[in-house]
Symmetry: C3
């Protein structure tokens, strides 16, 4: 058909294009009150007549982007309730407070530092490795409210891009929050999480999304592949959590010479609410990472995401039943999450059958990983290191096995991010420890952080 | 205008169509980096120039389908929290665990068996009645990522269709889960729910959506009409639940010779969260059943759904207040759900005034139905049989009264599905009872399933 | 390009337009089974060929409108859980029951009275001030399912418009519900909230959205500006709440001569769930108020909304920490909400930097406001008057400071609505007090409304 077009005389061709765009603004419409449709048509016209029909695709893609951002936002409620549910009631206020802080500081710091570092407008300080940039300005300016922002390669406006990415930013800190729960000093965590999100995640993200070394790793068919962030988001958070927990040490009384004392969560309904909300929000996390409303990949990503989670849940139920000799709810819930993390790097590039296998393996891994870390006395109250860190590696490597990515690139890329996250978190945590301490006193831990840090209890009887 | 078109010379007409599609890919764009918009435009081109503008409708419809799927997914959290809230705290872990199992096995079994049976690609084993088929393959292949999948009669891709339907599949088992709560053996329920979803619902669904007898019932204006599943989903679940409860028997101590002992739910906030989430998810359940983003029906369905729920809530509040002499929260909550089930069969084909009447009648029915089943000693802790089974019949019949459907077809169709669900559930449950038993011991029931089955409590004090 | 068009001969121009619309229905398609796409194409054709491509924009905008309506619906769960969490467990059933009532009566009354008053089809009773109209009919009739409803100035159908606005309607009553919690008589509140929503909010809304005096205030660049309802929704609710609380009086024992007894909420997780759900739903509240899916404003509104909330949270944490000498979770949560209310009037018309400042100031205001009202013995258990009433004023005025609105118009408009809401609520409450009383007895208050009004407890131990 392109041939046919080339046979038309140039001016007529142009006129036809113009008609396709302008034919939609009839003379009569201009006499009516101006409304959103008029404004929209003006925008279409301003974008150039040749894009007219495609602009509707832009519009629906942008709508999906902001809805996906809202879904990812809800994951923060999922994290907050999951963490609260799996820990003791005497630390619940503290956990909720930390999560309000994390989402707030995550959004603001991403506006001030993160976004422009992930899309470097200025030069790198160290090419490919360090390129901190300043705050966002008016992202709707200079055509940022249409094609002018990303061209044909990005079906969203500047603000759409910002708000979707901003919701990811706080996730890394939230993952750490669960692992260090019940004994970390509040003020220290607030400083730690702020720096981690504002600088650590910002830098790691710039490697992948900002044109840094990770985005150039391998190259071509051998390029590092991480669709929605098994490595860059979940792995980063898991590795940072591991470093923090190693310095912080286990909760008092958790490990004795010969035994492990189970410290059970105070509300399984709260934990279940959290996991189902995370599952729900993951449709935005993975689905939004399609970066458009393109029907083919969108349907595939929703399907692989859901099936991997389901397979993770079943696998975790069966494996933990065999190992622990009982049907364990915490393991079932973590199995769903393990399946989700396992599919996140490859949700758009594996078959549904592969997604089930990937999720099922993730669901098995998480059971053994949680048991393993408990054995080596790494005290992670919610299993965050296993779910996000370990399954993050599995998910990244699995794209090589099931989705045609290059195994070496996947390993190098994952290792690079994990080592950076671990070292960044370690150094940061040690500095904070030296300056202000990182752990509450034994008495405070025994009393619970709610009373000792906040002077407030999460639950109270009627008076 | 069609006349005008016919006067244009054929080649020019074709050229114009081509321009409509291809005019949107300007020469300059090809020099930029390929992105989602390019890919999308290639897809549009591959679909044939004549569909160009309509393809945007396809895209937005598909987006709605996957968002609706996510909303229906969230209904499973609604069911989980509602069931947990309306039962005793000693059985909460058990209920949450069952719901993780149900959604997981529901999604996987729908990929393996259900979907291809609802859209039979192979032959029926018994024409119109039994046509079990195998697992889904690559639904994006052979044009399944665009028109190639359903033609002009379905504005979604193969995966969009799959994931939306898959979220419905587990619902039937969830409904039973609530009715048999607090005394069923976990392993038996896991087997039961798996078979019910993988075979029972699969078969019933194929009658309606797979071109089976139900879809041919009546025919023309007299065809059986069930828009989003008052009968096929909610009725199926309610009837299956009734059979299971009849075999299982009531909870110990619930009924004595002369009295009914109320066993109250342990957390009304949890129950309320569940009902509001179900209400929210129902916008996807009914709205997604429009099967496109067609503005006219979409707005109507949202409106009738919301107004029927509201009318159900008000009616249930007033009726139960008159009957029980107190403003009962459980009845108010069940009234919202009753309104929703009552509108599900006719949400797209009744007036808003009718939707209010239909919901209000549903809200009254549920009060008397719950009282009735309690009187005849059918012990249904959450009122699932009344809400889904009884209001499912009402909703199906109401389409004849208010929406112009044929009364006989509605009755025959509903009866057919209800009898099948009841008998399937009865036989399955009896087989499981004979082989592995269906009920926990009296001691286990007294101790609660959380301790006796899972060795874990839902709530625990801080240590 | 318009020039180019004018050079084409008229008939050809018309033919081209026709092709743009009709070229999408190929002959072969007519032989396939009719489906949603066919119906859609018929609708496009009926709308007139010249709107063909723009109709896709209409469709995606309408989809966003109904999704936004669902998000605003979920805010009612947010309000219910927030109110329940911040009050005592002995009044939880009562709070949940009230919220079921409010959403139900809000939706129904908006169908019967509100909608047609906000879009007056008949004459005003008092021009610009009072124009109560009757129930909605078939809003899809007479082209209400497409352009025929609002022309180019409204990218939604009649039902889309209705369901989105209907979800707003109940909000005012919900705000009052929190402020009067723990001592109001249930039946009195049910009457009060019904009249407030059906008449009070209906009238105030008609001033702004129904072409009343508020929409004509100032005029041109000096017009009153309230994007999504800082004044008309939140301010209205806050002012109504203040009047109700002043008549109702504080909870028994709250204030003694010399001291204020803190009556703490019974479940902070429930409160946190509420606030996060409100934040989530606010994307629909503000985002849906764009009234289309126009990419530019949509991205901006999501961004300013999220950043203002985040800034409110941080600001409230820091300010309350300084004032109260402890990191207070309730203040952190109310800070998020304060930021959201503060941005609601100007979300589409301020810069991101301004949105951060506006939210941060709101977060500080709410801390001092809550302390202030407690000092003057206005007992508001959830801080609703401060969050919605006081920050509603700030948000309205802030549009003048940061968004170029006219300061006098903003002040006059806000004052007008606040005074009306206050007086309406005052008079209504006094009438109800005279006829049926507004407050439970001291014994009932001590026992809790759950037992005294409902005969049911929110939580119960297993038996």
């Amino acid at each position: 058909m392109k041939k046919l077009l080339s046979k038309l005389p140039g001016p007529l061709l142009f006129a036809l294009m113009a008609v396709a765009a302008l034919g939609i603004t009839p003379a009569t419409a201009q006499e009516e009150e101006a409304g959103p449709v008029d404004e929209y048509l003006e925008l279409v016209e301003a974008s150039g007549a040749e894009y007219a029909p495609a602009f509707d695709f832009f519009t629906v893609s942008m709508l999906w982007t902001v809805i996906a951002a809202a879904l990812v936002f809800l994951m923060h409620l999922g994290f907050a309730t999951l963490e609260a549910g799996l820990t003791q009631s005497k630390n619940t206020v503290n956990i909720l407070f930390k999560n309000v802080w994390i989402i707030s500081i995550g959004l603001i710091s991403y506006a001030v530092l993160g976004f422009n570092t992930h899309y470097p407008v200025d030069s790198w300080q160290i090419t490919g490795w360090l390129g901190i940039n300043g705050p966002i300005g008016d992202l709707n300016a200079d055509g940022g409210d249409s094609w002018g922002y990303g061209g044909l390669s990005l079906a969203m406006t500047g603000y759409g891009d910002f708000i979707f990415q901003a919701m990811f930013a706080a996730t890394a800190a939230t993952i750490v929050s669960g692992a260090v729960a019940e004994r970390i000093k509040l003020s220290s965590f607030m400083v730690y999480s702020t720096v981690l999100v504002a600088f650590g995640y910002t830098i790691a993200g710039s490697w992948h999304w900002g044109g840094g070394w990770l985005s150039n790793l391998g190259g071509g068919d051998a390029a590092f592949y991480d669709f929605a962030g098994s490595t860059v988001v979940h792995g980063f958070g898991g590795a940072a959590a591991l470093a923090a927990v190693m310095i912080l040490g286990p909760r008092k009384g958790k490990y004795t010479k010969d035994s492990i004392k189970p410290i059970v969560g105070h509300s399984m309904p709260l934990a279940a609410v959290g996991v189902f909300l995370l599952f729900f929000g993951w449709f935005g996390f993975n689905g939004g990472s399609v970066l458009s409303a393109n029907p083919g990949p969108l349907g595939l990503v929703f399907t692989t995401t859901a099936l991997a989670a389901a397979a993770g849940g079943i696998s975790s139920i069966l494996v933990s039943w065999a190992v622990l000799k009982k049907p364990d709810l915490s393991m079932a819930l973590n199995g769903l999450l393990a399946g989700l993390v396992s599919i996140t790097a490859g949700a758009d590039s594996v078959s549904v059958f592969s997604s089930i296998i990937m999720g099922a393996i993730g669901g098995a891994i998480v059971v053994f990983s949680i048991i393993f870390f408990d054995k080596i006395k790494i005290d992670d109250p919610v299993g965050a290191i296993s779910v996000h860190g370990v399954c993050g590696i599995w998910g990244t490597v699995a794209v090589a096995i099931f989705g045609g990515a290059n195994l070496m690139s996947q390993i190098i890329g994952a290792l690079g991010v994990y080592i950076f996250a671990f070292v960044f978190s370690l150094v940061l945590f040690l500095i904070i420890k030296a300056i202000m301490g990182v752990r509450v006193s034994e008495e405070e831990e025994f009393a619970g952080l709610d009373i000792s840090e906040h002077g407030q209890e999460a639950y109270s009887a009627s008076t």
